[in-house]
């Protein structure tokens, strides 16, 4: 730069080009602000990426399915125009140790018959379960695109928002209100016990209560984790899940397209060393390279630990925030295998030609086994008998693998951030991968012969590549003490950091993880409010 030339100063710098960072930046750019997103990796997307790591296969190597992404954001940022297409998928099943399975069917009559096959009395219970879950979804969905109120504040806005919450609670009526209060603190096992008698049906449903969390099916709070996985939708079909055509990177690419359409910039290979602060006000960032970029506002899409313990000088963050960040629960509990297959693996338990294989499949047919898998994690080991949420997007999305070949995504619960307190070794990573493949091979005899390439990801790999502390996929546990106005910490739930001009927009903020894009959008709304600019960020369209 020539001497005397003035360094460009941005209105906003967003740290981290994950989907929330990009969403936040896109809304700010759309409102006319000069926005720069800086990303440490050579590619954008954070945990919403499509990686071409083996020949013609495309891996959604972190997040792998889409449902929670807020439709209002999808529409407002015109992500369809920028190439995003989410395709609903079908099916899903849990395999049993005695060679049977239980399938999930969209058709209500077929679903009823399938439950009847395993437990006649649970058929009506299943309808009751679905009705109740729909109630809680309907209750909680409107809160996703709203900033949580601060219950200790007497500002008009917070009181108004508290009144909104109170009214929603009262609308539930006394019976539902009791159930709902319980729901937030109960375990998924206890919750399912209220409905079902069959252990297989309970295990089939309980998986959503443990995915991504350092809780077992019998840990209090896991019922909410299940709800968190149910409250999404695809095209208004609540609870449905879909694939982003081209892999989860399509979500990030479309968001980047929207950002660039509105004049925003992205710089990759630009990791941030520090958020700079002067007189209690943000002045910009210093990159790993030593380069300084100035900005009036800095938004961190990183999790609360990385942001406050890594990027901010403790003197700037302050003792209270540093302590809260240290105590923030963000436990790594999941691993993932991304596998290139030369054909469709056989599952002798499934009838020939069954469409169920197009959906997600699970291994672990009882809550007891699931809890034992959790016990291993508590002891600092990966589960010997792991739970998997596996699926082959390539059966639906033709862009993921060559014809007749498949990408198998295997999400694994549980996998510890450290092995018995020590860092992972490469041998242990391999052994973890073998455990999972052996588990799958018990149910699919030809699986091993079909394997062409495997990428094994423990919390170590997820943390070092994506930057999620301990590889926690939600950027922090989804327990009541870290939800709503407690997320990430009490007093900091409205997306503002401890210094002027500093904000948070990652999944560590309300309403949490799951590729929702809601934290990024909500943070953008708050920033625009501080700037007294008109709001261009949508709120929930509601269901009434």
């Amino acid at each position: 730069m020539p001497r005397g030339a003035k360094m460009k100063s941005y209105d906003v710098i967003v740290i981290g080009a994950g989907h929330n960072g990009l969403t936040n930046a896109a809304f700010l750019a759309k409102a006319g602000l000069d926005v720069l997103v800086v990303e440490k990796n050579p590619h954008i997307g954070g945990a919403a990426v499509s990686r071409n790591l083996h020949k013609d296969w495309m891996y959604s190597n972190c997040s792998y399915v889409c449902s929670l992404f807020r439709p209002e954001i999808y529409r407002q940022l015109n992500l369809a125009k920028h190439g995003l297409q989410v395709i609903t998928y079908n099916g899903g099943f849990t395999l049993t140790q005695d060679g049977d399975y239980i399938g999930s069917y969209n058709d209500p009559e077929i679903m009823r018959r399938e439950i009847y096959r395993h437990s006649p009395v649970d058929v009506d219970a299943y309808d009751r379960f679905k009705t109740d879950i729909s109630k809680w979804c309907r209750f909680i969905r409107p809160m996703l695109l709203r900033t949580p109120p601060d219950p200790t504040s007497f500002k008009f806005r917070d009181l108004d928002e508290l009144r909104f919450l109170a009214r929603k609670f009262l609308d539930l009526g006394p019976r539902d209100l009791h159930d709902f209060m319980k729901f937030f603190t109960i375990s998924v096992a206890d919750y399912l016990d209220q409905y079902f008698t069959s252990d297989l049906i309970k295990a089939h449903k309980a998986g959503s209560g443990i995915i991504g969390t350092g809780l077992g099916p019998m840990s209090p709070g896991s019922a909410y984790v299940m709800l968190h996985h149910y409250m999404g939708d695809v095209d208004g079909s609540v609870g449905a899940w879909g694939f982003a055509r081209g892999g989860m990177g399509a979500v990030s690419n479309a968001l980047a397209g929207a950002l660039q359409e509105h004049g925003g910039e992205i710089r990759t290979n630009a990791g941030v060393e520090q958020i700079t602060v002067k007189n209690g006000t943000v002045t910009g960032v210093v990159l790993d390279s030593g380069e300084e970029i100035s900005a009036k506002r800095v938004v961190s899409n990183l999790d609360a630990k990385r942001t406050f313990l890594g990027l901010m000088d403790p003197k700037d963050a302050g003792e209270k925030v540093v302590k809260a960040a240290k105590n923030f629960k963000i436990r790594g509990s999941s691993g993932k295998l991304n596998i290139a297959l030369n054909g469709i693996p056989e599952f002798p338990a499934l009838p020939k030609g069954s469409d169920l294989i197009q959906g997600d499949f699970h291994i672990i047919d009882s809550l007891e086994r699931m809890e034992r898998a959790y016990d291993d994690w508590k002891a600092g080991r990966w589960s010997k008998d792991p739970y998997v949420d596996a699926l082959m997007p390539s059966l639906t999305d033709p862009t993921m693998a060559p014809e007749g070949k498949h990408f198998l995504s295997v999400f694994v619960q549980y996998c510890p951030p450290k092995v018995e307190g020590k860092d992972w070794t490469d041998d242990q990573v391999q052994a973890f991968g073998d455990t999972v493949i052996n588990q799958l091979a018990k149910y699919s005899p030809n699986l091993k012969d079909l394997i062409e390439h495997v990428e094994i990801r423990t919390p170590r790999e997820i943390e070092s590549e994506v930057g999620l502390t301990e590889g926690n996929i939600f950027q922090g546990e989804l327990t009541l003490d870290q939800l709503l106005f407690n997320r990430p910490f009490p007093g900091y739930a409205q997306y503002r950091g401890p210094v002027q001009g500093m904000y948070m927009c990652g999944s560590a903020t309300h309403p949490g993880g799951g590729v929702m894009a809601a934290p990024g959008a909500n943070a953008a709304r708050e920033i625009l409010m501080d700037l007294k600019l008109g709001n261009t960020v949508p709120e929930d369209e509601g269901d009434d």
Partner: protein, 402 residues
């Protein structure tokens, strides 16, 4: 026996079955069928959502056998078609397909359809409604013959991003060179199949025309070649979403065909359907409705066809259109759907002139039901410029593999 080979006892037959009936029935778990030109056809076979996504993500097979089809041939075939249709038919070369409308003397649209120029002096006309009498009335003085071949040609609409790849695997060599609106004959199972790169989904797709005897083999060949590609048979409901998403008109739904319209003001001219580009007033020959259409062009049409992007997620089915919330009624919605790929709440409709300019805002009053109770919502709607969904692959030649 009548001229159509129908027995006196034809009333015992009920609805006709297309050559694909048994194959569709095998896949059917929904038991939802409807009538289409005397045939029974499925609304949905398995699940509307997955059938819709076959159109937009892989490949979909839809039975269009019930379409009205007429073969017109003779030395005057071109002149006759030019007389009947509003487009300049001298521009339609052999091996090409044209979309057109035809009008009555008042310039009101009788129907829209596709015209296949199969040889120098031969055309195939495909329409939603029956047109035999229209053809007969217009044939006066032309050296042509025309035949109703509706039941003699079985047809499948094969739509979606993987259709070209799958057709290549069936063995239709050179299919990838077909441009949009091209048509070509291919050898198949000892007979020929005519394939046109046409469709009703606004996407990459083809229509396959074959004699009824070999129709089943064609169906099987598509599913065999597409077995790794998630090919799905679809019903009319999935197609309906796709065609509304693509902003395409449907006779009998968006407009009332002039020949069966009783009430004044209910029939529509091509201009009122937003099809100005199909009308060639100066093509040098007289065509049906030309005089009335010249008058209308000078005077201006009564209505405007609008494609609306409606706020919110409640579909504006059968809604009235207003100039402002609670204001004056200025039109009505004729088709509406949530568009799953465009991610828009879309509506097609008509407003009185001069309302509904591109980019302007109108209002719709939407009624919708939740657990048996009716609710009402006012929603803003912006008039779109062109279709809601228009992917590059629709026109790309050769199409991408996936």
């Amino acid at each position: 026996m009548s001229s159509q080979g129908l027995a006196k006892e034809h009333y015992e037959m009920g609805l006709k079955k297309t050559p694909f009936y048994s194959r569709q029935k095998e896949l059917d778990i929904m038991n939802e069928w409807h009538r289409w030109s005397g045939y029974t056809v499925p609304n949905v076979l398995n699940d509307v959502t997955f059938e819709y996504f076959a159109i937009r993500n892989s490949a979909s097979v839809f039975d269009i056998t019930p379409m009205a089809k007429y073969r017109i041939k003779g030395p005057d075939a071109l002149d006759f078609m030019n007389r009947l249709l509003t487009r300049d038919m001298t521009k339609l070369r052999v091996g090409r397909v044209g979309y057109s409308v035809w009008c009555d003397d008042e310039g009101m649209v009788i129907d829209d359809g596709t015209v296949f120029r199969t040889s120098e002096n031969e055309y195939l006309l495909c329409a939603q409604e029956r047109q035999l009498e229209t053809l007969k009335r217009n044939a006066l003085g032309f050296d042509i013959s025309f035949d109703d071949v509706s039941d003699d040609i079985a047809a499948l609409s094969f739509q979606g991003p993987l259709t070209c790849t799958i057709l290549k695997k069936v063995g239709f060599e050179g299919i990838d060179q077909l441009k949009m609106f091209d048509l070509k004959e291919f050898a198949f199972a000892g007979t020929t199949v005519m394939i046109s790169r046409t469709g009703y989904t606004g996407d990459l797709g083809y229509e396959l025309w074959i004699n009824p005897e070999n129709a089943g083999d064609l169906w099987d060949a598509l599913f065999e070649a597409g077995k790794n590609y998630n090919v799905k048979a679809i019903g009319g409901d999935a197609l309906e979403i796709a065609r509304i998403e693509a902003g395409l008109l449907m006779a009998g739904k968006d407009f009332s065909p002039a020949t069966s319209t009783v009430r004044p003001g209910h029939a529509k001219s091509p201009y009122e359907l937003g099809l100005d580009w199909l009308v060639k007033l100066d093509k040098g020959v007289v065509f049906n409705g030309r005089r009335a259409l010249i008058q209308e062009r000078n005077k201006g049409p009564r209505y405007r066809f609008v494609r609306l992007d409606v706020e919110g997620n409640k579909t504006a089915c059968s809604a009235y259109i207003f100039d402002r919330q609670g204001g004056k009624t200025i039109g009505h919605v004729s088709s509406a759907a949530w568009a799953p790929t465009a991610k828009k709440n879309v509506a097609l409709g008509f407003v009185d002139m001069p309302y509904g300019e591109v980019g302007s805002t109108v209002w719709v009053e939407i009624y919708y039901q939740k657990e048996l109770r009716w609710n009402r919502r006012w929603a803003k709607a912006v008039v779109m410029d062109g279709p809601f969904y228009n992917p590059e692959r629709k026109t790309l030649t050769p199409p991408e593999a996936v």
